[in-house]
Subunit: 108 residues, 2 copies
Amino acid sequence: MKDSEYKDIGKLFKVLSDPVRLQIIDLISCKEMCACEILEFLSISQSTLSHHMKVLKECGIVTSRKDATWVYYSIVTEFINDLKEKFNNITSDTSDCFCYTIKIECKK
Amino acid sequence: MKDSEYKDIGKLFKVLSDPVRLQIIDLISCKEMCACEILEFLSISQSTLSHHMKVLKECGIVTSRKDATWVYYSIVTEFINDLKEKFNNITSDTSDCFCYTIKIECKK
DNA sequence: CATATATATTGACAACTATCAATATATTAT
DNA sequence: ATAATATATTGATAGTTGTCAATATATATG
């Protein structure tokens, strides 16, 4: 696995490291919700929610569609599954770990 | 799911959000390694590695055993699996999502 | 005891970010 | 047109953290 891939996966985990964003994901994984509906469940300001939704969208975890004044958000399941698979890869003994491809000189 | 649970899971994802720590996990998921061996694979200082190993240990993802001057690190698989399960819970429509337990007043 | 190696800790600094109030934009209803 | 509602953007701020050099501690070896 390349350096850049660890960075990319790290960025996604960074997005998932915020408890509010985890709550949002939990909510919209049950059903599609508009921002004002999500906001009712949380105790944050509207601008903060808007910020979180932007972060979730920009990284690919969430998608949205606009209907009149409302913006409906939902989870991109394939994207999440892809991340899960990559994490499985990292946490198990797989041949594409860079410990098999990089030669090191260890004095041990 | 309680507020504190989202916080706890968020903290674990925070730990996983660093690309260097992801590399370390990838390495030691292949086989147990001592710090100096891990260091050979990475381009960071020894003190930085020590810091990362402390973070990984303190959150429960990694465990260690000391043998002479060497400290050997390995993954706590059950812990990782537990996190994966919790993430599956968050990213799917499950009855313990707080959208089912909290009553909201939405004008929609 | 002295030297070398392995690991941990401390302190400092730069970079990042979650949050809010205020404001802006867009759409609907009256 | 005006008011109300939904969402986004713009600073500003406070808190967090990854990194390194320097230092400390621990163990083995000669």
